[in-house]
Symmetry: C2
Subunit: 112 residues, 2 copies
DNA sequence: CCGCCATGTAAGCGAATCCTTAATTAATGA
DNA sequence: TCATTAATTAAGGATTCGCTTACATGGCGG
């Protein structure tokens, strides 16, 4: 019953699948049709469509219809938000808490 | 049947839940016991334990037992990996592909 | 017009996710 | 020793996920 459908959660969930990450990596080198995008993967076309729907809901791709082809284009704005979150929680604090933890451990060991 | 249990996938999946992100944000300010960590959330203790298990499997926290308390400590190394991925796929390419897409669109429109 | 072509939608299946209540372990302190 | 506190494990339910096959849609070339 998680209300995990805020923007950030959608993005992280989209990134949590290796197939979808590979698709984004491919799109990183330029727009592609669904067929081109599907080519490297041993799964059915509907499965591909469903992965693309997840990416689209997360705002990570845009699909433009032209003739019978759907061209997918990467949209990296949502990654900015994800990057912000990760960067905010990364680095610089590590060593500090390592030290604090060590200290706590020593204190505990000191009073058996 | 996704083999989505590589390190990166575990991390992104762990980050895909707002409760778990809030827990990490709390831990970012220093280690905490499970009780302290649970306090802001209106869900049961077992639910909290399960969230912590997900974070631990992703390598994002470490639990050290001392007396009847489990102290949770943030481990940010996995975030480095996630950050690397995101940064690699972000920015700088946007405008380039926007232009390319525009151009393609114009070409298509040009031959009706 | 008709049958390929590139996609999407529908329906269903097994596994995973997120939550619950009930029972369990383990340390504390009167 | 016994009740209390802190947390986990077990079991179950509802929902979502990732995949499948079968069918539908819609543009295009003959």
């Amino acid at each position: 019953m998680a209300d995990a459908d805020d923007e950030l959660s959608l993005v992280f969930r989209a990134l949590a699948d290796p197939t979808r990450r590979a698709m984004l990596s491919r799109l990183h080198r330029g727009p592609a049709t669904v067929g081109e995008l599907a080519e490297p993967f041993p799964i059915s076309r509907p499965a591909i469509s469903q992965h693309l729907a997840v990416l689209e809901r997360a705002g990570l791709i845009e699909r433009t219809v032209s003739a019978q082809w759907r061209t997918c284009t990467l949209r990296t704005e949502p990654l900015d938000e994800a990057s912000d979150w990760v960067e905010r929680h990364r680095g610089e604090w590590n060593e500090r808490f390592d030290l604090l933890d060590e200290q706590l451990r020593r204190m505990r060991r000191g009073t058996p």
